[in-house]
């Protein structure tokens, strides 16, 4: 069977496209990087792919709000092809800035009658933060997290705090099983495990089908064991803990 093809969709300011493509290839898939301008010219091109990934970076400089301008492009110009793409049972992944884009584009099923129920906003510290976090996967809805329990992954963002319109909106998403990834404590450094003040410790969420997934941590930055901050303190692992997410996506089509 042919390798599943991933479209890595980049915009001005996207900067994690190369390593994200590499992660999909390492996972056994094929990856092609395309500029948003190209897809806007020919939206049907997306149907050639099984997986769409919006990688990390600062699309349009995070200007106005992180992911907002990219998300509007999707809402205005790509809504139809995205609807078809999802209806065809294909996968969508948004990492960091890609998550910000997905949540603001409505593709994570966060819009209700009152408007968007959830978003990503400024970290409580008011600052950009780069560090590693422990995250806990839950439920069996999300295709990407199949078989995952706890993961140690890096974050690097300023606007990564998961926010909801109100408590009720949160409960709705939680009961729908969409809040599938949460920051969690590890032995010895439990007090600041939630790095940005995210409501409900949410680090990632999926849509109602589990096939569209966005997360703030960067799984593509932990593919090789030497990327881990403490690899010199322990026996060398075979692969990094981020690789299973990409393998799950690729195997979904195998």
């Amino acid at each position: 069977m042919a390798k599943p093809r991933t479209l890595i969709l980049r915009a001005p300011g996207t900067n994690c496209d190369v390593e994200t493509a590499f992660a999909f290839e390492r996972a056994g898939g094929e990856a092609e990087t395309m500029h948003l301008n190209r897809l806007l010219e020919a939206p049907h091109l997306v149907s050639d792919f099984q997986i769409l990934c919006i990688p990390g970076g600062f699309s349009f400089g995070d200007d106005v709000a992180a992911g907002r301008i990219f998300a509007n492009q999707i809402r205005h110009h790509l809504a139809d092809v995205m609807k078809e793409f999802r209806a065809a049972g294909k996968l969508v992944l948004g990492i960091c800035n890609g998550f910000q884009v997905l949540i603001k584009s409505g593709l994570l099923d966060t819009d209700d009658d009152l408007g968007p129920a959830a978003s990503l906003s400024w970290n409580d510290s008011g600052r950009y933060l780069a560090r590693w976090v422990q995250v806990q996967a839950s439920g069996d809805k999300c295709v990407f997290l199949a078989g995952c329990d706890q993961l140690h992954l890096p974050i690097a963002h300023a606007e990564g705090k998961f926010v909801v319109r109100d408590e009720q909106a949160y409960r709705g998403l939680d009961e729908a099983g969409q809040l599938v990834l949460r920051y969690c404590g590890v032995d010895g450094c439990a007090d600041d495990y939630n790095p940005n003040g995210a409501f409900g410790d949410v680090a990632g969420m999926c849509d109602q089908t589990g096939r569209v997934f966005g997360l703030m941590p960067h799984p593509e930055r932990f593919i090789d064991p030497t990327q881990h901050p403490k690899w010199t303190r322990r026996p060398m692992q075979d692969v990094g803990e981020g690789l299973p997410l990409f393998r799950n996506a690729v195997r979904y089509f195998s």
Binding site: C16, F58, S119, A156, P229, K230, T232
Partner: protein, 977 residues
């Protein structure tokens, strides 16, 4: 019509900006009872936008309804004067806007995004709004000037906005300007040089006068500007590359070209010595130095400084500093892909009392915050990991903070050289040209005051990282398709410098009116010398132009043909077919009369350093750990993305909690390879007060130590020099620099570590007049930064500095000497005098080589270089980073002399030393590998106790004892903002 959309935090959401303003007001001692509300806003100019359309924009583009609420109205409307909730107690309304002409990248993006809605919008600008209660008028003014806005780029408007449209430049009417030189005497020439901000010397002005007299005409303004820029210190390095008569205790030495005969000469000699094994590719010729990396790729490395702009506007200065050095790497060879950044800063201590600041000087803490934010926002947005850095504090950096920004790039072997071909088009790619960065001559005071809305922002700029990222993406794609023959960046001097350099061997004709401008009203001269950011110049064969244009459009990058390289040997500038400049390239590049300077150096006499008697040094250790130079820089490091591009191997912070200070960073630039690049640096301005020769030698040794400590191969380390010095017209100041350059030559040759590129920044002095009318000048200490780029064959052989487990042996490698001069022990105890650390380069070479062999064989579980604070500080850092205790017996410390005091063994900063953790089973192999030549000894062991214990070498008493947590707290606390 001018609309405004304000975005307020929704009730229940935190007003973070307001909290920060309140906090700053307390910190600066302005007031502790301020009440602040904040909002961010957008001004939208449009002739026909309806209210409903404005609401659509607010809801669908600008506001995030989960956390914000929007207020939309026409400017001047009452609704904009009060915040939506709790308006009664809101206080005075204050607006902060960028001055016209200052880069507003958010507004640029917003304009593009709004046009996507198909709405008729002319222009957008951003603003910030504050409602401030609890402050009197004076406090309000102080808050405005010190907290809310920087006058260099922003303006404060108290009350409603006094305008109802955005002014966007005015029409320019061409008039050719000539400058009368012939009639001027020497005084007149110098006045012109000064007042025209040409900053040329008399001999240079006379040469220009004579040249045009020979031509029988006067120069145009743009000809004079072009000569001034090309002959400037910044572009031609005329002082250090000039004639210098140098004198020190060894006698006199005449240099025809000082840099060429010292630093550059050492590299040439090494390359000749290596012959076929020469791994240098391109040195001291391109925008960055290039060395060989693997079978496919080379590495390019450049470090620049951006000191003066950072003093005026720290955020913008640092922002454009990192943006500039990244363009250097992109503009090297046929373009390198940037893979990591390094940043080194020098500031005055952040706790310098506000009332002791000279007029015109920004608070050092503010400078530091601004600089860090500037580097953060540019580096992170570019997607380039910032992996290495250092911060040094000294009172003498008060008026002259130093900002060194470096970038490493990966470049395919066959792309490492470039050559402009006659007939190629001159293509400008990237940002538009504005009045940015034009020196004061074009930014006259009349323009500043006569119209409040006039275009400003001349000297100080803010970068737009996304523009540069787009340019990078487009250039790498064009490079790989072979669409151009050469490229360079627009840095200082703008088009003038870029086109002038590229066309040096051929000749060029430029059509200035074609350059895309940000707004109307730019004169031909302004277009030519503007230093607007994010621009590159490409040399494109005519037949590739269509493809270049298409590819750039696909990447949303503007590309414009602005001229042609013609084999005329001349630089011809035209504005709508009128010739405004016609100079021969020869005069431009070789016409400058040589600069001749005197330099002398007198070694300050050695004063004895008296160590106060003490039975316990625990407190000294903690005070050194808490001293600003040594203390953790976690607050800075965590704001930088050091993992983007997915190649991070050794991070800047390591250990159990990822908070120990790594010696160097290691990145893997090729994702399916294990070959690594190692980045480190060395610097110690305090040693320069003793002898700049030893300062320079120590800086090289430190940079090498840091590289070797993580596993770099010492025979593949390339280094860069960055000299930041005071006024080099003073012979003693220049002498101290020449002496440092001689040391660079000597040590580089022995270590076989080549310099591949460098840069200098002279005249870092700050003068002010105090309240009594007395003039003071603060010169920075001699500040030589050595940046090192090493390589490691397989990153899985790297080691980190954190102790790994109890029961291992601790080896001290290298001799310790009575070298407390300039040490941090002396600093925290206010001791003067002593011997400054020296370098035995021969022994250093052997030590680096043998230690590397040991590390490569996996014989060291951890390794840390000994630098600021000496042995005991290194031991403390290793222990608390690894959560593993240690005991050390000073009696076993290797020394060359008959005896040495405990204080010196603990705190001396002698060079070429490492502390290594060795498993007992590796003992013999480790010792054998180091060999007899390299001094080393087992001085202690790692323990399961959470303590560091050091025993005296003479009495055997415990002289240092502390828990790891108290040591770590001492180290983490001072800069944990």
């Amino acid at each position: 019509m001018l609309w405004e959309i304000d975005l307020h935090p929704r009730p229940g959401c935190v007003d973070r900006e307001a909290i920060s303003v309140v906090g700053d007001a307390v910190e600066l001692g302005i007031s502790d009872r301020l009440q602040v509300r904040s909002a961010r806003g957008f001004l939208i100019e449009s002739a026909s936008l309806s209210e409903q359309q404005v609401d659509t924009l607010a809801g669908e583009l600008f506001a995030d309804a989960t956390v914000e609420e929007a207020v939309c109205a026409e400017v001047g409307t009452q609704a904009l004067s009060t915040p939506p909730n709790g308006a009664d107690a809101a206080g005075t309304l204050v607006h902060v806007l960028l001055k016209p002409g200052v880069m507003d990248s958010v507004a640029q993006s917003a304009e593009a995004a709004a046009s996507d809605f198909g709405l008729p919008i002319d222009a957008i600008r951003t603003l910030r709004k504050y409602w401030i209660a609890g402050a009197d008028d004076e406090q309000l003014a102080t808050v405005g000037a010190k907290i809310l806005a920087n006058d260099a780029i922003e303006q404060v408007v108290v009350g409603p906005l006094p305008f109802d449209r955005l002014q966007l430049g005015s029409e320019y009417r061409f008039a050719l300007q000539t400058v009368e030189l012939e009639s001027l005497d020497d005084q007149g020439l110098m006045r012109l040089s000064r007042e025209g901000q040409l900053y040329l010397q008399l001999a240079e002005m006379q040469t220009i006068q004579k040249h045009f007299a020979g031509l029988g005409r006067e120069p145009t303004d743009v000809e004079l500007e072009t000569l001034a820029q090309t002959w400037s210190e910044h572009c031609s390095h005329k002082t250090l590359a000039g004639r210098i008569a140098y004198r020190d205790e060894n006698g006199e030495r005449q240099f025809e070209n000082m840099l060429k005969e010292t630093i550059f000469a050492a590299t040439q000699e090494l390359r000749a010595r290596w012959g076929d094994d020469d791994w240098c590719v391109s040195v001291f010729r391109d925008n960055a130095g290039i060395v060989r990396f693997d079978e496919t790729n080379n590495l390019a490395f450049k470090v620049e400084t951006h000191n003066h702009p950072s003093a005026l506007e720290p955020y913008g200065g640092a922002n454009t500093g990192i943006g500039g050095v990244i363009r250097d790497t992109i503009g090297t060879g046929m373009a390198a892909k940037p893979i990591c950044n390094t940043d080194v800063f020098c500031f005055a201590p952040p706790d310098t009392p506000a009332d002791s600041l000279p007029p015109g000087v920004l608070n050092p803490k503010q400078v530091m915050r601004g600089v860090v934010s500037g580097v953060r926002d540019y580096g992170n947005r570019m997607g380039i990991p910032t992996v290495n850095g250092a911060v040094y504090f000294d009172e003498r950096y008060l008026g002259n903070p130093l900002v060194y920004c470096g970038n490493v790039g990966l470049i395919p072997h066959k792309m490492s050289f470039k050559a402009v071909k006659p007939g190629d088009l001159i293509v400008s790619v990237g940002g538009r040209t504005g009045r940015d960065g034009i020196h004061g001559a074009t930014f006259s005071s009349a323009e500043l005051t006569s119209e409040s809305e006039s275009l400003s922002g001349g000297a100080v700029q803010i970068g737009n990282a996304i523009e540069e990222k787009k340019v990078l993406d487009a250039i790498l794609a064009m490079r790989d398709r072979g669409l151009y023959n050469a490229l360079t960046d627009c840095g200082a001097g703008g088009f003038s410098s870029a086109v002038g350099e590229m066309g040096e061997e051929i000749g060029a004709e430029v059509w200035l009116e074609r350059a895309p401008v940000k707004y109307d009203g730019l004169s031909y001269t302004e277009i030519w010398i503007s230093e607007a950011q994010e621009r590159m110049v490409l040399s494109v064969p005519q037949h590739n132009w269509d493809e270049v244009q298409k590819l750039c459009a696909e990447e949303s990058v503007e590309a414009t043909v602005i001229g042609k390289f013609e084999p005329t040997g001349r630089l011809v500038l035209k504005y709508h077919d009128q010739i405004v400049c016609d100079l021969s390239m020869e005069v431009l590049h070789d016409g400058r009369p040589p600069v001749i300077r005197e330099a002398e150096y007198e070694v300050p006499p050695i004063q004895p350093l008296v160590v106060p008697a003490s039975a316990n040094y625990t407190d000294d250790l903690k005070r050194i750990l808490s001293s600003y130079n040594v203390a953790s820089k976690q607050w800075i490091i965590r704001q930088y993305d050091h993992e983007v591009q997915g190649g991070s191997v050794i991070k800047p912070l390591v250990g159990v909690q990822s908070d120990g200070p790594s010696d160097a960073a290691v990145v893997r630039p090729v994702l399916d390879s294990r070959r690594g690049v190692v980045i480190s640096c060395g610097m110690n301005p305090r040693y320069g007060d003793f002898d700049t020769y030893h300062m320079a030698a120590s800086a090289i040794d430190e940079a090498m130590r840091n590289c070797v400590a993580v596993g770099a191969d010492p025979s593949r380390v390339a280094i860069l020099d960055n000299f930041c010095w005071g006024d080099c017209e003073k012979s003693a100041t220049l002498g101290s620099l020449v002496r440092a350059a001689i040391a660079c030559h000597d040590v580089s040759l022995v270590l076989e570590t080549p310099f591949i590129s460098g840069k200098d920044s002279l005249n870092n002095e700050f003068s002010y007049v105090d309240a009594e009318g007395h003039k003071h000048t603060i010169a920075i200490p001699p500040s030589l930064l050595i940046s090192a780029m090493g390589q490691v064959e397989d990153v899985s052989q790297c080691v980190t500095m954190d102790l790994k487990s109890a029961g291992n042996l601790l080896y001290l490698v290298g001799n310790t000497f009575d070298e407390l001069g300039g040490s941090h022990f002396a600093l925290v105890n206010d001791l003067i005098g002593g011997h400054v650390p020296m370098v035995n380069a021969e022994l250093a070479k052997t030590t680096f080589a043998n230690l590397h062999t040991a590390i490569k064989q996996g014989l060291a579980r951890s390794c840390h270089d000994l630098s600021e604070g000496g042995l005991v500080v290194a031991a403390a850092e290793m222990a608390f980073a690894g959560d593993v205790g240690a005991t050390i017996d000073l009696g076993d410390v290797p020394i060359a002399a008959a005896s040495l005091s405990d204080a010196a063994k603990l705190f001396a900063e002698s060079n070429t030393r490492f502390l290594c953790e060795v498993a007992p089973e590796s003992k013999a192999a480790f010792e054998n590998t180091l060999g007899e030549l390299v001094p080393h000894a087992c001085i202690g062991e790692t323990t399961a106790e959470q303590t560091l214990i050091v025993q005296s070498g003479t009495s055997g008493d415990t002289i240092v004892e502390a828990s790891l947590s108290e040591l770590k707290t001492a180290w983490l606390t001072p800069l944990n903002w």
